[in-house]
């Protein structure tokens, strides 16, 4: 009897230890960034200083764009309100420091995912919300219709602190063309200098070229050359070391893309709760316990879809309808000939 009692105590002790252990890991799952965000009541999001279609503020200070929508999606998932976002406009040069120093919690600023950025400087890329490539813009009157017509001594305006600067060198070196790089800190200054005739060509991501073209004094005088000289997968970035927060941002983006795949829109999201498709039901929170894994409730993705919309809606609203890039190109779902393909939410 005494012997059993001893065994029983040890068993109780073991269970107790196990229990405290599990509650502790559950608490740890509530990441520091998530806790801070919930305490503050808003998501701190770093965006560009004004790139139409991606992140741009109107005269009243309302931010719109597909990069902005990623932050809004996270706010909807975490705080229940897509408007609870504080946007911090950052230059290309400032963006990573702002993120690693903890000034912002998500960097959603048309940022190219590269190995060295991911591995070196304390950042983690969570996905791709726009597949882009670097291109060149020239004046129509120059008669240039292809990069093969570039000649020695061409001057090219661009931004500092971007992959563009490196790609430009690779491109001109591989073609054996000597060039004059003119690199500014702000995109507006690049556009002003190119527009004034300081440079023969303006190079950056093609989406950026299309967006900046709308800011030129006479947009029709400029064309974007057809060649794409690099891969520029643009996506949101978080600080290294908070894997729960990383997962929240990743799956907020994935949920938007998957919602489009299953035809769930901001308009029909509620009615989709009674869908026959379990994948759809999971995504609108009618089945499964997906949110618990992040320490969120089950309707996190439903809120994203209802308040921000699916990826297709976001693209249409920000990029297609504004005339920047009406054609989705590679940023179409894999089922429709594009390369948008996200892991399943289950």
């Amino acid at each position: 009897m005494f012997k059993y009692l001893k065994q029983l105590t040890s068993l109780v002790a073991m269970v107790a230890v196990l229990f405290t252990f599990t509650t502790e890991t559950m608490a740890a799952k509530k990441s520091k960034t998530l806790k801070n965000t919930q305490k503050k009541g808003f998501v701190r999001c770093g965006v560009s200083q004004g790139l139409p279609g991606f992140s741009n503020a109107d005269a009243a200070g309302n931010w719109t764009g597909i990069d902005v929508d990623v932050c809004r999606a996270v706010a909807a998932a975490v705080l229940g309100d897509a408007n609870k976002v504080k946007f911090t406009p950052l230059s290309a040069k400032e963006r990573f420091t702002a993120l690693t120093s903890g000034e912002i919690d998500i960097l959603s600023r048309n940022t190219t995912w590269t190995l060295s950025r991911d591995a070196d400087i304390g950042l983690t890329f969570v996905g791709v919300n726009f597949y882009d490539g670097q291109g060149f813009m020239v004046r129509k009157s120059s008669g240039i219709t292809s990069t093969s017509q570039f000649k020695d001594g061409i001057s090219a305006c661009t931004n500092i602190g971007t992959t563009t600067e490196l790609n430009m060198r690779d491109f001109f070196n591989s073609k054996g063309i000597s060039y004059e790089p003119v690199a500014f800190e702000k995109a507006d200054e690049v556009v002003a200098a190119y527009d004034a005739g300081r440079c023969d060509t303006y190079t950056t991501d093609k989406s950026g070229l299309a967006a900046q073209r709308t800011k030129m004094s006479n947009p029709d005088d400029h064309i974007v050359l057809p060649e794409t000289v690099s891969k520029e997968p643009l996506g949101p970035v978080v600080r290294q070391g908070d894997s729960v927060w990383e997962d929240i941002v990743r799956w907020s983006l994935n949920a938007m893309i998957e919602a489009e795949e299953y035809g769930i829109t901001s308009a029909n999201a509620d009615s989709m709760k009674t869908s026959d498709n379990p994948a759809v039901k999971r995504l609108v929170g009618a089945e499964g316990e997906l949110g618990a894994a992040f320490g969120l409730d089950n309707e996190w993705s439903l809120r994203i879809i209802k308040q921000v919309g699916n990826y297709g809606e976001s693209y249409k609203r920000n990029i297609a309808d504004t005339g920047i890039l009406p054609d989705r190109g590679p940023n179409e779902l894999w089922t429709k000939g594009g390369i948008l393909y996200v892991p399943p939410a289950r």
Binding site: A92, K93, F96, T97, T100, S116, R117, D120, I121, G122, V138, R139, S141, S142, G143, I144, Q149, F150, K151, G153, I154, S155, I160, G161, T162, E165, L166, M168, R169, N173, Y179, E180, P181, V182, A183, F184, E185, E189, A192, A193, A196, G197, R198, D200, R239, Q240, G241
Partner: protein, 383 residues
């Protein structure tokens, strides 16, 4: 003993506080960098930079190291500072003297210039010269030649390049001229001190500095030709000049705005210096028979310089530090190249910013040392 302790304790406390504060920040940075998985180290300086720079005084392209990129930025900063300081000094002295001119139009114009440029923020002036003035410049194909060989265009100023033969002989002749001028000056001073005679040193010097180099052309085998910039077509409406030397518009805009801005402060230093010399000094000098030129050269200026130099040193430092605004208009100075592009490509924020800060500190201290040495040289020598 007590007195000694009293003296030492505050010092010890000061040292302790400094060490603690410094230690706290270092520790804090270390912990945070470790948490975020950021490595610390200067090894990146020898890595390949893989970005190009628009304008460089030394040979550089992306296959060189980050350290080389640092040198490129540093030299560009020094270049713009040196040119800026020279122009600002010349302009400042002229305007400062002009403000004291009895001619109403001249002194009012000088006063207007000082008030106008001194009271507009420098960054705004840089933007004005770069974006507003630049837009008004012609495209390369529309530019008219100035004096037949200079072309000022939106893409920069193109000037003819000198092509020398036997350049070293020419340089030797200049060095020879300078040495002989120094010797003659020493001799002239001796003659004046012992015999009271004044030799026309100035004219002899001017003669030497022209005649010796001229001789090198005539008998030394030196020859000089010019390479005049030629228009080159890049595309239907896209042109540039080739050959000769091209100065980027960024350099011109930056130098111009720095010089015009700093010159206003130097002008005020000069005016204060001249006005600071007592009226009695001039009258006394005139009364012993010196002509107005000699009064200025021998009595007023040596005393005025003592007042002018220290605040002017400050302005030189300001100009050098202000040159970091170059980043706004794409002039590849230290801040743009190293604390900009290199910082972004490597992510080594602490390392690069610390190097940049130390570099500016060293530049400023060098200028201070140089100016203090000069100041000491012209100071009153107490006997």
């Amino acid at each position: 003993m007590d007195l000694k302790l009293q003296k030492i304790i505050p010092q010890l406390i000061t040292v302790l506080v400094v060490v603690l504060v410094f230690g706290f920040f270092t520790y804090n940075a270390q912990i945070n960098m470790e948490n975020r998985g950021i490595d610390f180290g200067y090894g990146f300086l020898s890595q390949e930079s893989s970005f190009d720079v628009q304008f460089s005084l030394i040979e550089y392209d992306g296959s060189h190291s980050y350290f080389r990129a640092y040198l490129v930025g540093l030299l560009n900063t020094i270049l713009v500072s040196v040119i800026g300081i020279i122009i600002a000094t010349i302009l400042g002295v002229i305007v400062g003297v002009a403000r004291l001119s009895p001619n109403y139009l001249i002194n009012q114009f000088a006063a207007f210039y000082v008030e106008f440029f001194r009271n507009i923020p420098l960054l705004l002036q840089i933007f004005f010269w770069y974006f507003a003035a630049l837009r008004a410049l012609p495209l390369p194909q529309d530019a008219d030649a100035m004096l037949g060989v200079f072309f000022l265009t939106i893409k920069g100023l193109y000037v003819p390049a000198f092509i020398w033969e036997n350049l070293n002989v020419f340089l030797y002749s200049i060095i020879a001229a300078i040495i002989s001028i120094i010797v003659i000056r020493i001799h002239a001073r001796k003659v004046q001190e012992t015999q009271g005679k004044q030799l026309p040193v100035f004219w002899i010097s001017v003669g030497l500095i022209f005649i010796l180099p001229l001789l090198s052309f005539l008998i030394g085998g030196v020859s000089l030709s010019f390479e005049i910039p030629k228009l080159k077509q890049l595309a239907t409406t896209s042109f540039k000049y080739e050959g000769g030397i091209s100065l980027p518009p960024e350099l011109i805009a930056l130098t111009l705005s720095l010089a015009l801005y700093t010159a206003t402060f130097i002008a005020e230093c000069v005016r204060a210096g001249i006005q600071g010399v007592g009226k009695g000094q001039k009258e006394a000098a005139a009364s012993i028979g010196l002509n107005p030129n000699q009064v200025l050269k021998l009595v007023v200026m040596p005393q005025a310089l003592r007042i002018i130099i220290p605040p002017t040193t400050n302005q030189y430092l300001n100009l050098t530090k202000n040159s970091s605004l170059a980043a706004a208009i794409a002039y590849p100075d230290l801040v743009l190249v190293f604390a900009g592009t290199a910082l972004m490509q490597t992510g080594k924020a602490i390392e690069i910013v610390s190097i940049t800060m130390l570099t500016y500190l060293s530049l400023s201290i060098s200028i201070s040392i140089l100016m203090n040495w000069y100041n000491k040289k012209i100071a009153i020598k107490e006997k």
